[in-house]
């Protein structure tokens, strides 16, 4: 391990060198265009080497050993207070020369032993310096395979899942996926195929290098330049006789990135420095060996040298950094920079924290929405239905300043709230019917879910009862969960994704590539489900779930060793054979201290209302996918826990906020906003809500097999009704086959358009003898104006505009004028109303919740 730049133990940590050179340069000429729209004058330049966040400043840079490298960071401060990366905007010099070499990207490489001063000079003459000591520059040390060679395969993509990293390898040569199993890689590289891959007598002629450099035909093309450091290191390793490293060599403990966060300007750049920390407290610059991946590729890109470039879109973007099995995140905020003032008065902590964020981003929010929009929006979001015209009129005429809060409360307390959220949870809990014998179970489970929501069972209790469910479906409906989720792996994976917001599948076969979770963590969680006993239930298609007495252990697929049950990041549980391990799991999950449980739920509900999670996708809350507003997520989590996991309270808290009540209409600044919640993001009505809304508007009734006529689609007990309803299928009602919300398809398609515009089903609803159009056409007590008003209240909860009224009545005239025959006139009038309703249900204003 000698050839990493080792900062000897504790002393080595005192290293962050901060040199401020305040320059009173008289030259006021503007900086060159390369630096783009700079905010003002640079007042200071800072040259920085930081190796650990635990120490603030260092005296000098030490480079020890021929392989040591250090990426420098140069930061400019402007008179406006802004801070920008200047690492690649300055020229570097070292004096005396010949000790250290610094390339244009600010990377220092040792040349000869000695001490020197590195000076960074900006174009307008500001300077910053740092001293450097080079030791043992000629010393060639034994290469360590896991720490130095394997990362090369990861960086060059050799061990990616599409190439040699897949389980079957590629053309006979196999590497472990992303280098998670260095011992295996060593076996394959050095010993397999009679050692033909490496040639110590002439390292350059090794098959590995000939292929990687494209000298010999290679399906993966050229992956390595012969003059690169990586290539030289590989050659040296082969020349040294392919050492693996000693058993007591340090292994990687964690990585750290500098800076961790930065406010950047649109189109700005930031050089990152990634430091690896080893178990012997040494550190190493691995900036060029790490992999970089932005979580939003429309917002930023990162190259192999650790240079991040953000684009024009304002907001937050995270760059995930991976090195060996470790991950780190760099977060950039790209402010729009507009003035944010005259904000509505915050009503709760949500408003305060979103407004705070908007001020940082410099993005003024849209105005508050009007009463009609609010009423329709919140009714759909909480109860999955449109308000009736009577409700709409009453609400609009109500002068009570608290009317919005009151309406929210009445919705939350209505049975439709339970219907709508039971529909959501039923799909996620995979309440799926695939055979008629399962009907009793799916109905019972559905009722159990719905009843729990109706009486507002606390969320911890709800989850706990599912996880620990034992017995028969009839007596204890949540055992139905174990029918579809029917083996320890599926059980832990659903638990992870649904209740913890963690997608753990990857860790079944290898270390999670984007997370800290290993196979050990995976099987620790699986172990909780290993004692789930099953025996035939009272009728075919049903099972009795029970605790099978015995010690819960899972077998790690890789090591083939037993793993004790353990929560993620928690110590293994010591359970006796009589303890149902699921109880221990439920206790760990629903504990107030569990860092994931409440957090994932509030994020899931946030997404329900705002169409985008604070972490998105909502069930992918890994460390490397950070929230856009961490403070808000923390506060929601805290609030939810303090309320005693009260779901209705959460819904009320969200809906009562000003943020939820912002208009979706953008102002001149926030049109492109997709993550700061500066306005409401419209979402298409879901299949069920749309189906019900069309019925409500046309005054038709649904008819589902075995259910009372008029049962609303949002109140369907399970997935089986999709098969008989082309409408629900084509608009993407989920089949309850996954614990992911993403199973619900909200994409548009041609088949949907055709259906809503032209289906016989729709035409029949419009043309029914006792349908809305017929009723309106034959209603002689009101004039057309009033009837059109009613329709507008029905579909949009608002008054029609003059123009709209004129269009509609004009159309009725067009169809009916000149028709003297009474029968003919009746038909024409009815058709006119059919056409108007048809047009209204096909407008975007109807199809979207906005």
């Amino acid at each position: 391990m000698l050839n990493r730049s080792p900062f000897n133990s504790a002393a080595a940590f005192k290293f962050t060198l901060l040199v401020f050179v305040i320059c009173f340069a008289s030259t006021s000429k503007p900086v060159e265009s390369a630096e783009r729209n700079q905010p003002g004058k640079v007042t200071s330049l800072q040259l920085q080497v930081q190796t650990s966040s635990e120490n603030e400043s260092t005296q000098m840079l030490h480079l020890r050993g021929a392989d040591s490298r250090q990426q420098l960071l140069v930061t400019a401060k402007f008179d406006t207070g802004e801070v920008r990366d200047f690492t690649r905007q300055v020229s570097y010099e070292s004096s005396p020369s010949g000790i250290v070499q610094i390339d244009k990207s600010g990377r220092a490489t040792p040349v000869a032993d000695g001490t020197a001063t590195i000076t960074a000079k900006s174009k307008d003459g500001l300077l910053a310096t740092i001293s450097v000591t080079v030791e043992q520059s000629g010393k060639v040390t034994p290469v360590n395979f896991p720490n130095q060679i394997v990362p090369i395969f990861t960086k060059t993509g050799c061990n990616a899942g599409g190439c040699h990293g897949k389980s079957s390898g590629q053309n006979g040569f196999r590497l472990s996926l992303l280098g998670f199993e260095p011992t295996e890689d060593y076996e394959h590289l050095v010993k397999e195929a009679r050692g033909r891959r490496l040639f110590p007598a002439a390292p350059d002629r090794s098959l590995l290098l000939l292929k990687a450099t494209g000298t010999m035909p290679h399906g993966g093309g050229k992956r390595l330049e012969p003059d690169s450091d990586d290539y030289k290191l590989l050659v040296r390793w082969i020349r040294q006789g392919m050492p693996y490293g000693k058993t007591n060599d340090a292994t990687i403990a964690r990585i750290e990135v500098f800076p961790k966060e930065r406010t950047m300007t649109p189109d700005g750049e930031q050089q990152l420095v990634v430091m690896a920390h080893y178990t012997d407290s040494s550190t190493e610059d691995v900036t060029r060996s790490a992999l970089y991946e932005p979580n939003d590729k429309d917002m930023a890109k990162a190259d192999a040298t650790g240079l991040v470039k953000v684009f024009e879109q304002p907001g937050d973007v995270a760059v995930m950094i991976r090195y060996q099995a470790q991950v780190a995140v760099f977060r950039a905020t790209v402010p729009l920079g507009a003035m944010v003032e005259n904000l509505p008065t915050p009503r709760n902590f949500i408003d305060e924290l979103v407004f705070k964020k908007l001020k940082i981003v410099g993005m003024p929010p849209s105005e508050l929405c009007d009463d009609s929009t609010f009423l329709r929006r919140v009714s759909v979001d909480i109860s999955g239905r449109l308000p009736t015209p009577e409700e709409a009129k009453r609400f609009l005429n109500d002068t009570d300043p608290a009317k919005r809060d009151k309406w929210i409360s009445s919705l939350v307390e209505s049975p439709q709230y339970a219907d709508y959220f039971a529909n959501k949870w039923g799909a996620l809990l995979r309440n799926r019917r695939t055979a008629p014998t399962q009907t009793r179970g799916t109905y019972a489970f559905y009722s159990w879910i719905r009843d729990g929501l109706l009486v507002n069972k606390s969320y911890d209790k709800f989850v706990s009862e599912i996880l620990t469910a034992s017995g028969e479906i009839r007596q204890n409906p949540p055992v139905a969960w174990y029918r579809q989720v029917n083996n320890p792996n599926a059980e832990l994976e659903d638990t992870g994704q649904l209740f913890l917001g963690m997608r753990l599948q990857c860790a079944q076969c290898h270390h999670h590539p984007f997370e800290k979770w290993s196979q050990q963590d995976y099987y620790g969680l699986a172990a909780f489900f290993t004692q789930v006993g099953r025996k035939p239930g009272g009728q075919p298609g049903e099972e009795i779930i029970y605790h099978k007495r015995g010690l819960a252990t899972a077998t790690n697929k890789k090591t083939q060793r037993p793993v004790k049950p353990a929560g993620l990041g928690a110590a293994p549980s010591n359970l006796s054979p009589d303890d149902d391990p699921r109880q221990a799991l439920a206790d760990w999950i629903t504990s107030k201290d569990n860092p994931y449980f409440a957090r994932s739920l509030v994020n899931r509900y946030w997404k329900h209302f705002f169409n985008r999670g604070l972490v998105d996708p909502e069930d992918d809350m890994r460390e490397t996918n950070p929230p856009t507003n961490p403070e808000l997520l923390d506060a929601l989590q805290k609030n939810f826990i303090e309320s005693g996991f009260d779901l209705k309270n959460l819904v009320r808290t969200i809906c009562e906020s000003q943020i939820y009540q912002l208009s979706s209409v953008p102002n001149q600044f926030n049109k492109i906003d997709k993550q700061n919640f500066s306005r409401y993001y419209p979402k298409r009505l879901t299949a069920e809500v749309l189906f019900d809304a069309v019925n409500q508007t046309t005054k038709s009734e649904s008819s589902f097999d075995g259910l009372p006529r008029g049962t609303r689609a949002v109140a369907l007990p399970d997935n089986s009704f999709n098969a008989s309803s082309y409408f629900l299928t084509v608009f993407g009602r989920p089949d309850s086959s996954s614990s992911c919300e993403c199973e619900r398809s909200q994409d548009a398609s041609l088949a949907q358009s055709l259906h809503l515009l032209n289906a016989k089903e729709i035409q029949e609803k419009l043309a029914k003898d006792d349908g809305r159009a017929a009723l309106l056409a034959t209603d002689n007590l009101r004039n057309d104006d009033e009837k059109i008003r009613e329709l507008y209240y029905r579909v949009y909860s608002r008054e029609p505009k003059e123009k709209e009224l004129a269009l509609a009545t004009g159309y009725i005239h067009k169809r009916t004028d000149g028709k003297d025959d009474k029968a003919e006139l009746t038909v024409a009038k009815r058709q006119a109303y059919e056409d108007i309703i048809w047009a209204l249900i096909n407008t975007k204003e109807f199809l979207f919740n906005h």
Partner: protein, 444 residues
């Protein structure tokens, strides 16, 4: 001098009538790209996209009675068909496939598909995956993946179109969009959505009135939606109106617009479903070609019913000539129209059939080996892939996996199976084919 070949019109009478266009005498140097494209457009050639036509033979066709006759086997295995020579020396196929024999240089029979499962379903032929150990939501069809990865070439033409009807035996329709979701389902011209494509109880005039009315009402600001969904809806609505009135898609579907002689080449099919499976409409092969030309990337057809548990040879004697005529007409047509490099064709079923002929003169299910036929797509044609043992019961050389054929088809579309992934419902990136499956080196 640059010669851009126009639409060649060679018909099955063998006469070639080639119209071509000659531009200048300077060769490419004298022509800018826009001019070239214009010239192509004028001569009826578009810059072509890549596409795949998949012909599924439900029930599992008898491999040993089509491309792999076993004359050295005992008579209870051999059967009554004789092999004939093809226009590629050394390759022999069944006497009831004479047209294929005459164009073997344009075809690739695979004799050694080795990973079929004993399950009457289109699943393997559409997804290349086993039904076992599926991710939640199930594996998507090839066409759904292509639609997702490559999108549409033309706003009015869906990327993935299924011409097969809903077959009576449900598992023949098993494959779907899987975890990619319903929006990537094949656009079905038969089945539940079909009635939506013709006007339902209203006249064209009234539709026009409605459309105008909708345009008047639908003034909601589109800029409230930054996700593009509203714009997408508008575009689909536009397509839908086109389809209800008259449109590119409908035109493409109407093979009667084709030259009579071309139609005749494909032969007259049989529209009634065979067995519990599909009709035998060679006309659909022509429709598939028209759809691909119009912009579709993947068109699937189901053809006949091949589950010959009884009367194997009698049925094959009836069915093979229709397959023979339809497939050869399609391949010839693709070549004639210069689409042979762009459009891949695959013909296959879910498994092969038993070597031994049973008491009912039939052959039963035999997943241990099955066959496939590939053509066009720029592949190296005129060769046979793989071989079976003496009895036609086991792959003896070059066993081929379904996934390898799929990898080849993806390759032909320009999709790198080693790079492109799709995300399943658990957030796991999934490769498009089973691990280890690569485009077949012999073919590309």
């Amino acid at each position: 001098m640059l010669t851009i070949y126009g639409r060649k019109s060679r018909f099955c009478d063998g006469i070639s009538r080639r119209n071509f266009l000659k531009i200048g005498a300077l060769g490419l140097g004298g022509l800018t790209l826009p001019q070239l494209l214009q010239a192509e457009a004028n001569s009826g050639i578009r810059r072509s996209h890549k596409a795949v036509i998949m012909i599924y033979l439900p029930g599992g066709p008898p491999h040993q009675d089509m491309f792999d006759l076993k004359m050295d086997a005992p008579s209870e295995i051999r059967g009554e068909f004789k092999p004939i020579k093809t226009n590629v020396s050394g390759i022999q196929i069944c006497e009831h496939l004479p047209r294929m024999a005459a164009m073997m240089d344009k075809l690739i029979p695979i004799r050694s598909i080795s990973d079929a499962t004993d399950d009457h379903t289109d699943f393997m032929c559409m997804t290349g995956r086993s039904k076992r150990n599926q991710p939640p939501g199930s594996w998507p069809s090839f066409g759904s993946i292509v639609a997702k990865v490559q999108g549409q070439t033309h706003p009015a033409i869906p990327s993935y179109i299924g011409l097969e009807p809903k077959m009576q035996h449900h598992p023949y329709n098993a494959a779907g969009p899987g975890f990619l979701g319903v929006a990537h389902r094949s656009f079905k011209l038969e089945g539940e959505g079909k009635p939506d494509m013709v006007l339902n109880g209203i006249t064209l005039d009234r539709l026009a009135d409605r459309k105008a009315l909708l345009a008047g009402f639908d003034q909601f600001r589109r800029d409230v939606d930054a996700s593009g969904l509203m714009a997408g809806l508008d575009s689909f609505n536009e397509q839908a109106f086109g389809m209800m009135t008259s449109s590119k898609l409908l035109e493409a579907l109407d093979f009667q617009r084709e030259d009579k002689r071309t139609i005749a080449c494909y032969g007259k099919g049989d529209a009634k479903p065979h067995g519990d499976a599909a009709p035998m409409l060679m006309e659909q092969f022509l429709v598939a070609r028209r759809l691909v030309e119009a912009g579709a990337r993947c068109v699937t057809v189901a053809f006949g019913f091949w589950d010959y548990h009884g009367n194997n040879h009698k049925l094959a004697r009836e069915d093979l000539p229709m397959l023979d005529q339809g497939v050869t007409a399609l391949v010839e047509d693709l070549h004639q129209r210069g689409l042979d490099k762009d459009v891949s064709v695959v013909v296959w079923g879910e498994f092969g059939r038993t070597p031994t002929i049973n008491k009912d003169a039939g052959r039963d299910h035999w997943p241990r080996v099955s066959c496939a036929l590939l053509a066009c797509g720029g592949m190296k044609t005129g060769q046979v892939i793989g071989a079976t043992d003496r009895l036609g019961g086991e792959p003896a050389e070059r066993p081929v996996l379904f996934g390898e054929v799929f990898a080849t088809l993806y390759h032909n579309l320009g999709i790198d199976v080693n790079r492109v992934t799709i995300t399943d419902l658990s957030g796991r990136p999934q490769y498009l084919v089973e691990g280890g499956c690569q485009p077949m080196k012999e073919l590309i």
